[in-house]
Amino acid sequence: MPPGAPLTWYLGLSAVVFAIGTVGVLVRRNIIVIFMAIELMLNAVNLTFVAFARSLGSMDGQVIVFFVMTVAAAEAAVGLAIILALFRNRETTNADELVTLRW
């Protein structure tokens, strides 16, 4: 059964969520919220992949989504461990204050 909504609607929704995620990464200063906005962007891309998989009739899109999810899980684990280690050293999660690598 064809999806009731045309493909472009799904792609438009995905673009909007991706844009919201980008704005979140650029504007927020709390590292955890930046991380969550990155997860939003990844999910918007997942929606695009699944929509195209449906529209082209190929399962490859869903396989790629499977990999994106797995890599996002690994990335979340390592990223949060980094944040833990950072917090232990510097007692702050404000991205404006974590600037030691800047010249």
């Binding site: 064809p2 999806p3 009731g4 909504a5 045309p6 493909l7 472009t8 609607w9 799904y10 792609l11 929704l13 673009a15 909007v16 969520v17 991706f18 844009a19 995620g21 980008t22 704005v23 979140g24 650029l26 504007v27 927020r28 200063r29 709390n30 955890i32 969550m36 906005a37 997860e39 939003l40 999910n43 997942n46 929606l47 699944v50 929509a51 998989a53 449906r54 529209s55 009739g57 399962m59 490859d60 869903q62 396989v63 499977f66 990999f67 999810m69 797995t70 996002a72 899980a73 690994a74 990335e75 979340a76 684990a77 949060l80 461990a81 980094i82 833990l84 280690a85 917090f87 999660t93």
Partner: protein, 164 residues
Amino acid sequence: MTAPVFLLLAVLVVAAALTVVAHPSPVYSACALVVTLFLLSVFFVALDAQLVAVLQVIVYAGAIVVLFLFVIMLLNLTQPESRPTAGVPVVAVAVGGGIGIAALVAAALRRVPPAGAPALPEGFGDTAALARRLFTAYVLPFELTSVLLLVAIVGAVGLASRKG
């Protein structure tokens, strides 16, 4: 999924995503993220991707965001940000950039051929179909991903354990 249902769910997704990005408290952002992921899972079911939808709930909403919540609560990271998130010029540029991305995608969409949905093969989107693709054409990325997960586990444990 009919158009009105799609529109309703899309509005909810956008509202939840805005809450993730805009709410001052990280705990509420995390809860809004769970809502967003769950609603996206509903979209996946509507797109005949049942296994991916359930995996989204199990992995993303059920494990990754729980990890976020753990870190927020253990480190007590809910103090509001010490100064306003960013100056007005930065916000303006960021929102402009977001609109720019959306506009770019909309322009690209004009070139997508308005093809009707082809007849889907039997059992599209269920476990057997995904497994068939995964273990034949994509077996190398699959093995590499398992190595990646192992490396991530070792790295995370190493980073998070106290040194000395």
